[in-house]
């Protein structure tokens, strides 16, 4: 092949030159070029290497169906692999390189695979696991594990950048009456017709110019067409791909906004991911031209016929000088005329022996009843062997010297978007293609996507499509009809594979994945005869192009082998996306610190100002620890926990869930929800409660306060707050509609500080207007009262302790939370107090054997965590019947215990498996869930579970096995209440 730019052809802007780099060399192209056309204009033939055999591959099409010209764009953190050169717009400074080749696409060491191809036939991965016959040498996991890293390295095409993507991607939403996909003659006609009826119309075109196939016509002016559409009010979105069609006419679009080189608009995103809701979708997505399978049909220089016409009339590139066109249908003749006009020598091979209608002006030679048989040449086409197609017994008859072979094996309508909706296409044997079936939803197919070939017919189908939409939307009632499918003067004759006589042919069905006709036959021999199995076994129709060119050829081969017709073999289902979508576009702005929303407590800034290091707790950020100079996290939390036990500490615990429960039936409601007794909770008292799920496992724990006869205040854990709220709403709305109760989430309305430690009373004496309200008589353990902080700030004080020390929780209106922290901290400082975070909070609760999410992990029962005695036997509550199920009350269930290392200098980690001595295996007999250093005991301690619990194992030495960290140590089982088991401190 020798391709070149020629004068007087094409629509590129020859006034504006772009410099670009290919494989580290500089070249020039023009504004309006695609990367593929610019490469062809510079006579670059080999642009990549194939997947398995590393055969040289050139540009094979002119659009998104491309399966040969896959390249890498950009370098460093802007590297984008597997980009189709055919749909990549050229821009100034574009950097592109070939892929799957070392050291370069022109000389690739991997091409040795081509000679080893018999080892890489279909299913070679799977066969690798089975070993090499006759002795199944290499069978088994170990060998696979060894080879895996080499196979993984060899597999795949381009290499992705491992650096963070510096570009911005956006999400956007839109609505319209009618969305038209594709701007070919049908799409433009439909958009015009709908806009004419004053409807809000969006026209989506993946190309940077509108026009579709008309861009290959010399007379067509894309800019005029665009201006006309815009003047009618059509919203035209260029460079935008409709990649998926979803329920209720929702479309996913990707708009390519900014090219990598554009330095001016830094704020613009690289791509925009649109979710558009239309009332009706009209799809004019066109059709793909198929190639023909014959030996060596992949040599650079082979291309689909229509692509060559696009390169000529759109880009001014003549793709060859001596061109052989092989066809089985009429569509190739227009291209032949155009190529001759541009100065190429053209021979048309038509497999049809007799044509009713003359298609030529005798400007080129036509040989009827002849098919291509074999391409000679490896890096470029030297000549083409041709064969007689009589009776389909292909016999080589001649060799033609040429530099390009164009193929047209028929056209496949792009039914992808309709297929996304589960509408299976049906086979039309007259036109040898799958055509769309009628959709029940508001979707209309038009143009060649409907199987209509003629341009005028396509335009008519666009108008009919718009009227169809109007009728189905109930806007107007007009009679319309769609032109008949097809439209060629002479009917197409099937031509999928020209069988090569010699063994080991390379007749490619799928260029991108190196799937040959022999691979399809091998799959058939080995029993993979359903199309879905065929696809997975041979990888036919996978990857980037999803078999847009080759799928039908594979189906026809399988049909032939099975002695069936193509429709009886069926077709695989197309699923979104239509073309690859970058992960960055799907993520949009949800990256980095915007990955998820941030919830802050009202004293968030106060915590930061006072030196907190924060930690994510669900969506919340909570103070983790408050390091002093040079302190590590361990130094800090051990100091904080020790301070709480010795003097006093203050902690922000606002993130707890808070629910207001009101109504005459509140008591009944509370009593049904908690597993422990609540009916007799006095006013101004609070109680610790445990909720179960319907299946009898623990849902959550928390406290519940009785404010009045008919009003309660519930707290939940941070993690389960949302779930508990939704569950309470479900109970009231779905199951117990007779209960007169209202629940309201008030989590955001209150700020909460926990203050605990032996000096708590001294601190609060200074903080409250009247400190007598919290005297032991006035506010006993588990009581709560209303009080005023100094300055007359109202608050509620509950005597609740999570740390095991004398402690209070102070609830205040969120707006006053910072003031509260100032008041408390100013006082606590005087008593050698501290601020403490989540890590110290955890240390204190582990010492006391209090459970949290690590223990209440959705697998444990109330008995497992040692709280079974709390559950009421006198009432029924949510989960009461199910918690008594056999499996949940089995003798050998894992029960909560404490763990001490036998050697007190050592520590162990959460997740450690507990095993019996001399029996270290499998899942063991228990596990460690929480670990902390206990300042009180002076060594590391843990909470966890063991089969049989404390009763069975108290003071026994077991083995903690940690195979991931390769650790093993002796651990002593103790009671989970490791400090102050009688709770004397609480009542101080």
């Amino acid at each position: 092949m020798s391709s070149q730019r020629i004068d007087n052809f094409g629509k590129i802007n020859r006034e504006k030159q772009f410099r670009f780099s290919w494989e580290n060399k500089n070249y020039f192209g023009y504004e309006g070029d695609s990367l593929a056309s610019a490469l062809l204009a510079n006579d670059i033939r080999i642009v990549g290497r194939s997947f398995k055999y590393h055969r040289p591959r050139g540009i094979m099409s002119c659009g998104v169906e491309e399966s040969g010209g896959l390249v890498t764009i950009g370098t460093g953190n802007k590297k984008d692999p597997n980009v189709r050169a055919t749909s990549q717009e050229l821009y100034e400074g574009l950097i592109a390189s070939g892929q799957n080749a070392f050291p370069s696409v022109n000389f690739d060491l991997g091409s040795v695979n081509n000679y080893l191809s018999r080892f890489f036939a279909a299913g070679f991965y799977y066969k690798t696991f089975m070993g090499i016959p006759p002795f199944e040498w290499g069978k088994g996991t170990a060998v696979w594990m060894f080879f895996e890293k080499f196979i993984r390295k060899a597999a795949g095409m381009g290499r992705v950048s491992r650096l963070p993507d510096p570009d911005i991607y956006e999400h956007a939403n839109d609505f319209c009456d009618i969305l038209v996909v594709g701007s070919g003659p049908a799409g433009i006609a439909a958009a015009k017709e709908a806009a004419d009826k004053k409807l809000d119309v969006i026209l989506v075109e993946q190309d940077n110019f509108i026009g579709g196939d008309q861009l290959s016509e010399t007379s067509f002016d894309s800019n005029n067409a665009l201006a006309e559409l815009r003047s009618l009010g059509v919203r035209v979105m260029k460079r935008t791909t409709a990649f998926g069609l979803y329920d209720n006419c929702v479309l996913g679009l990707i708009e390519r906004v900014k090219d990598q080189s554009n330095p001016i608009n830094k704020e613009l995103p690289k791509q925009r991911f649109w979710i558009v809701r239309a009332k009706h979708v009209i799809i004019g997505s066109g059709a793909f031209e198929r190639h023909i399978a014959f030996n060596n049909n992949d040599v650079p220089g082979s291309m689909t016929v229509n692509a060559s016409k696009h390169y000529l009339n759109r880009y001014g590139v003549l793709t060859g000088k001596n061109i052989v066109i092989s066809t089985n249908n009429d569509s190739a003749y227009g291209t032949a005329e155009a190529l001759v006009k541009a100065g190429a020598k053209v021979i048309v091979l038509d497999n049809r022996e007799n044509l009713n209608s003359n298609l030529t002006n005798n400007n080129f030679e036509v040989r009827n009843g002849v098919v291509p048989y074999n391409i000679n040449g490896t890096r470029e086409i030297k000549s083409l062997d041709i064969a007689d197609s009589v009776n389909l017994t292909y016999k080589k008859i001649d060799t033609i010297t040429c530099d390009q072979v164009l193929m047209s094996g028929g056209w496949s309508p792009a039914v992808h978007l309709l297929s996304h909706r589960g509408v299976k296409p049906k086979w039309n044997s007259e036109n040898q293609c799958f055509i769309p079936d009628k959709a029940k939803e508001n979707i209309t197919m038009i143009g060649s996507a409907r199987g209509i070939w003629g341009k005028d017919d396509c335009t008519a189908s666009g108008i009919a499509g718009a009227l169809d939409a109007l009728n189905r939307l109930g806007i107007s009632k007009t009679n319309y009809f769609f032109p008949k499918q097809g439209g060629w003067k002479n009917s197409i004759e099937p031509l999928y594979e020209v069988k090569y006589k010699k063994s080991r042919s390379k007749s490619f069905v799928d260029f991108q994945h190196d799937v040959t006709c022999d691979d399809v036959r091998l799959a058939h021999r080995e029993g993979f005869i359903s199309v879905e199995h065929l696809k997975r076994y041979t990888t036919l129709g996978m990857a980037n192009d999803q078999g847009k060119m080759g799928n039908i050829i594979g189906l026809s081969l399988m049909a032939d082998l099975l002695g069936k017709e193509i429709p009886d073999v069926g077709t695989t289902t197309f699923r979104p996306p239509f073309t690859p979508v970058s992960i960055g576009a799907l993520a949009g702005r949800s990256v980095g610190k915007h990955f998820m929303p941030l919830r802050t407590t009202p004293m968030h800034q106060w915590n930061l100002n006072n030196g907190a290091t924060m930690i994510d707790a669900g969506l919340y950020q909570r103070p983790w620890y408050f390091p002093k100079k040079n302190e590590t996290i361990n130094d800090a939390y051990i100091r904080e926990a020790a301070k709480v036990r010795k003097t006093v500490g203050i902690c922000d615990v606002t993130s707890l869930g808070k629910i207001a429960i009101q109504g005459p039936d509140s008591t009944e409601f509370i009593n049904r929800v908690y597993s422990n007794a609540f009916a007799k909770l006095p006013i101004n008292k609070t109680r610790y409660g445990i909720m179960l799920r319907d299946d009898g496992l623990v849902l959550d724990d928390g406290t519940c306060w009785r404010i009045s006869e008919t009003e309660y205040f519930m707290t939940t854990s941070t993690a389960q707050a949302g779930r508990v709220m939704a569950f309470l709403e479900e109970l009231l709305q779905v199951r117990w509609p007779d209960l007169k109760v209202n629940v309201t989430s008030v989590s955001e309305q209150w700020g909460v500080a926990a203050i605990s430690g032996p000096k708590t009373r001294e601190v609060l004496d200074e903080c409250l207007e009247d400190s007598s309200v919290i005297s032991n008589d006035n506010l006993p353990y588990m009581g709560f009262i209303s009080a005023n902080l100094k300055g007359g700030i109202p608050c509620k004080i509950a005597r609740i302790s999570f740390s095991g020390e004398l402690g209070f929780e102070i609830y205040i209106l969120a707006d006053y939370a910072n003031k509260m922290m100032d008041i408390l901290w100013n006082s606590a400082k005087k008593f050698d107090g501290c601020l403490y975070g989540l890590e110290a909070l955890g240390a204190l609760r582990v010492e006391k054997g209090h459970v949290t999410g690590a223990e209440l992990d959705g697998r444990t029962t109330i008995d497992d965590v040692g709280l079974g005695k709390m559950a009421s036997n006198k009432k029924s509550y949510v989960g009461s019947a199910m918690r008594k199920r056999g499996v949940l009350s089995a003798e050998d269930r894992e029960k909560l215990v404490g763990f001490f290392p036998v050697n007190k200098k050592y520590t162990f980690d959460s997740g450690t498996i507990i095993c019996e001595k001399n029996n270290i295996k499998g899942f063991g007999i228990g596990r460690v869930t929480s670990v902390t250093h206990s300042p009180e005991l002076g060594h590391w301690i843990g909470l966890g579970f063991i089969k049989g619990g404390v009763e069975k194992w108290k003071n026994t030495i077991v083995i903690g096995s940690d195979p991931i960290r390769n650790k093993e140590m002796e651990i002593q089982v103790v009671s989970p209440h490791m400090i102050d088991p009688q709770g004397k401190r609480l009542h101080a």
């Binding site: 589960g422 299946d695 479900e730 709305q733 779905v734 019947a881 199910m882």
Partner: protein, 92 residues
């Protein structure tokens, strides 16, 4: 991309809602025997066709809804509040 017409808020994207479960279950009373609860909690029909299910408008009015949806096409044929008296309240 299902659209759900909340009786209170109007037509909204399904991302505002959270799926509940099978709406055809009649939950036994709390003091019912374990066997009844086992049946209600663990046994589900795997329906191909119209299915009754609950959804909560979790990022909206928080109402629990009973929705009839086709498991084949996602088509929704009926939506009403689970709470028997709520529809009357909305209508007034």
């Amino acid at each position: 991309m299902i659209l759900i017409k909340c009786p209170y808020c109007g037509e909204r994207d399904h991302s505002e809602f959270s799926y509940g479960g099978d709406a055809s279950i009649i939950y036994p009373s709390l003091d019912a025997p374990q066997e009844e609860w086992v049946k209600a909690i663990f046994f589900r029909e795997n329906i191909k066709g119209i299915q009754k299910e609950t959804w909560q408008h979790i990022n909206g009015c928080r109402m629990w809804l009973e929705v009839e949806r086709s498991t084949i096409t996602h088509e929704i044929t009926s939506i009403k509040p689970c709470h028997k008296n709520l529809q009357k309240v909305i209508d007034n």
